[in-house]
Symmetry: D2
Subunit: 144 residues, 4 copies
């Protein structure tokens, strides 16, 4: 598993962001935010990303399924400070797309997440509509 590229660790690379407060439930027996809890934080941030674009799995008449998730943990994360998740669209295919996320706490990147999402209808995988595609393509990373 490759470590994230340097641009992934910089907040300015991402056009969107959302603040996710941490919870006591996120702590594990090591006293820090658990790695699975961080996956749940990224999940909620993804819903806000799409909601801010005006699109939601709940409103599309189809289902958005997570096909894969790649998480890299960079630094320990703490409670009760909030986490800011910076977000960008990666590649947008015919029926699936990738989201790039980076979580920050106290100005430091603590974790990154790449998620592949597939859109499905009762008929099987469903092509992404032109409007959603255009909205996502306006949220590509700002690199270099």
């Amino acid at each position: 598993m490759a470590r994230p590229e340097p641009w992934r660790l910089e907040a300015k690379s991402y056009p969107a962001s959302t603040v996710i407060p941490t919870r006591f439930q996120d702590l594990d027996s090591l006293g820090h935010i658990n790695n699975v809890a961080m996956a749940a934080i990224f999940e909620t941030a993804r819903v806000h990303f799409h909601k801010d674009l005006g699109y939601s799995p709940f409103q599309s008449g189809g289902r958005w399924l997570v096909a894969s998730v790649m998480l890299n943990y960079i630094a320990e994360t703490h409670f009760p400070e909030p986490v800011t998740v910076h977000q960008a669209t990666g590649s947008v295919g015919n029926t699936s797309w990738t989201l790039f996320q980076a979580a920050f706490q106290g100005g430091t990147c603590v974790a990154t997440c790449d998620t592949v999402i597939v859109m499905q209808g009762p008929e099987g995988n469903r092509p992404i509509g032109d409007e959603l595609r255009a909205a996502m393509e306006r949220q590509v990373p700002r690199i270099g």
Copy 2:
């Protein structure tokens, strides 16, 4: 993110396994086991893998930190049927190692997980001891 290789989807590739019952809490609003809940199932299976080897993060005097997790979701998973997690050691480095996991339900592979774990002591990353290394190297995948 590459899709898992064919051997990753076969139970016979893995020398170890553990049964993890699902919980109502694992369900999300789509009515299936949520992708983050599956990450929690893999996490508990990892603890059992090491406990069955006779080693535990709780007993080592150090900390075992998760450095990265790569999850692929193959099929929908349901409650209340249990999940069987098949497990093998991947590469074992100086201070870190990889675990390969595959979750099955009803005889079908529903998800795979690759986890990189780093061992730390107060002094920083800590070399893996000879005994733990030997125990893990006896649990490599059975391919071909």
Copy 3:
């Protein structure tokens, strides 16, 4: 909040039981099973209780809503040992009923839970059917 009566802490008071393995996610920063995690363990045990009776919220065409939950924590609970949840029906009303539960670990009662569940259909609260009522009334506590 009244402490549980003595019969609530004895396994033999309950006609039904189910084993719920603990998870690493159940631990909190104190290193024991978190009180909210115990509520999730009781929740999954409730689903098994009704499934074992042949009834499930998923099959009833209605919804079973939790109206109240009263939890008493008696002793610390640990991972990775499983928890055994002993269960009985309390009072069965017209549209709602109470479940009595007690969680044991290593032969000791670690927590009790009283849950009031309400049955609803699109029309509002729905009377409990005769068959489900009879099945539940066969699961009353064995006291004295």
Copy 4:
């Protein structure tokens, strides 16, 4: 289990409050915030209540254990809208105290929670210090 008294459902009864955003993980297969997830929301609100008073289980040199939790669910709660938890101190005993909480969403009380917390040191239950007692007694409910 008694239903909450009318003053418990009014935000103005409580001297303190904190906003807890909901998470996708809080949803269950009924598409609403799960009752156990609401218990986790109340838990995080309790930590903020004590932190805002200047006291924390993490800083006291002892442990704060939850002895009992009584939850009443009044109305369905939704994602992604946040929940506001209004809070007050109930009775303060020698080694334990009660917190009264009420969760609101969209101006409606959706759930109440009464929690008994016990303070422990290595020596067993530990008397509440005068300063913490005084701080808590300034946060009693505003009734009538």
